[in-house]
Symmetry: C2
């Protein structure tokens, strides 16, 4: 757990939290209270260039890319989306307590595989990136998998100060890039979303490139595949991908107007505290700790117009 590294951070973070408490008096004690007291400055509008729509018959899944963690993959995915690569492809895998994956069912068949160009077929891995230049709000309770965990740019993240590297955490709803046996075998043509308990052991083994903001239930409730790794054995079970779009390419009136809670604010520090000690009436024993993936990064519909 590398506690020596965690301890000073704990002290610093508590000091920050206390100063906030003093500065603003008793902070709202619950998540609902923190959100009710939030100001417009506590929320951000994701850049439409970083927002993807996965259109299924059941509705729209809204995804935010994190190019600060995987710029090459974010670019390649945008290129694939804009080339219409995903339109008419399928959800090919739904594995219980693990992931849902979509892409080309014939990706491994040179005869039938849909061409990727102008996108690249393989990319250098972006499993981690340098810590330097990346804002990071530390969660003080530590982590089993990483020396430090917290939040960066609205995403659950982890980092290793000794190695000087940071990466997106594999929490529920994370968007990952499927790959084969080698580090550079992913392109973004095969994408997956985590629908179960966080498989944090995938970190530093695969490129994570974003997270789902809306519509998780459209993926998490898909029938599980009966094949190995949850692949659908009968093509008729595969779920059609009607289309994928970059929000910036969609008429404003047809966009999902969402705001995401900032993770670099005093309000977010209060939200973390509200999750570390649940003060909702129902709770009898506040734990005083919270694990990374149990801290939500709230998303809300934009009310009114600009």
């Amino acid at each position: 757990m590398r506690c020596p590294a965690v301890r000073p951070l704990l002290a610093i973070a508590l000091a920050v939290t206390l100063s906030i408490a003093v500065a603003e008096e008793a902070p709202p004690p619950t998540t609902a209270g923190v959100l009710a007291a939030s100001t417009p400055a506590d929320w951000r509008r994701p850049d439409p260039e970083n927002v993807l729509y996965l259109e299924l018959d059941s509705g729209r899944v809204v995804i935010e890319l994190a190019p600060q963690f995987a710029p090459l993959h974010a670019d390649n995915i945008r290129t694939l989306v804009r080339a219409g690569y995903f339109d008419g492809l399928k959800v090919i895998r739904s594995q219980e307590n693990y992931v849902v994956q979509w892409g080309d069912p014939h990706a491994d068949d040179p005869e039938k595989a849909r061409p990727l160009d102008p996108a690249k077929a393989t990319l250098p891995p972006e499993f981690t990136r340098p810590m330097r230049g990346l804002d990071f709000t530390v969660l003080v309770d530590g982590d089993v998998y990483a020396p430090e965990v917290g939040f960066s740019g609205g995403f659950h993240a982890a980092r290793d100060p000794e190695a000087g590297q940071a990466w997106l955490a594999h929490c529920y709803g994370v968007l990952g890039v499927a790959r084969g046996g080698t580090a550079d075998s992913g392109s973004g043509a095969g994408l997956y979303v985590v629908i179960g308990h966080a498989p944090r052991h995938l970190e530093r083994n695969i490129t994570a490139v974003g997270r789902v903001l809306r519509g998780m239930e459209l993926l998490s409730t898909l029938p599980r595949g009966s094949g190995p790794l949850g692949f659908y054995t009968d093509p008729a079970q595969q779920v059609p991908v009607k289309a994928m779009r970059v929000a910036a390419d969609v008429p404003e009136a047809e966009r999902s107007a969402l705001e995401v809670f900032r993770t670099d604010t005093a309000a977010f520090a209060q939200l973390m505290e509200a999750r570390r000690n649940r003060r909702e009436e129902w709770f009898l024993h506040p734990v005083g700790k919270v694990e990374l993936c149990n801290v939500p990064v709230p998303v809300r519909e934009v009310v009114g117009t600009e």
Copy 2:
């Protein structure tokens, strides 16, 4: 993280692991290898008195009760099941990344509520139990929420040596007893199963009484409820509970013949190691750590007859 308390356990556990490695030479490096090398003694048949069948139109969910952690609740649930209390009731709640819950949709309406007798309407909380007398296989990597975590009797568990208490961990698939605002307001007439990222903060706040052995996908893929907390707002959306049965009351030919991997064996110690360092070919960076809920307790169909 209470590392000082964890460190010595780390030393002990590693010593145990190494002695196993020496005694049996190179242990199977992967989960598949450990299971392939397992002997009948590494598996156990759950006591049919502790196995419940939740029968849905979509199939059977098999649950194992853990009376060693919550004897009063396990007894009361058996009494309810044997009185036919659950037969014809409904799944009333399906909350994204959280829980599915079933029981009496009219439980709060004295006029319409189904009577619980001969079962009790309320029970003393069994949030924790004394550590003494409880076997416990420690997971060496520590935990964010509890001073120690590991496995007891085949269940994911946690404990606090200072308090001398142990409890079932709220991992994916755990069976919990719904309660109201007070500690003693649960009876087992309302039951839930965790279908998302482990809500470990519920521990010591509610009574966990078992876990799902088979059929999680029948619960995890249920349409989410659109009401607060994922309750179904339209009774037509509620999913019928055809019946609940205690396996011991079901003719042997109609039982689900399952075996569960023991958690107090050298084979399980090897399985934990196989999860701490994933040696499957796909993994490029074994993490060297694993979080409690990412260690599976394997379940298999019984092959052949007794």
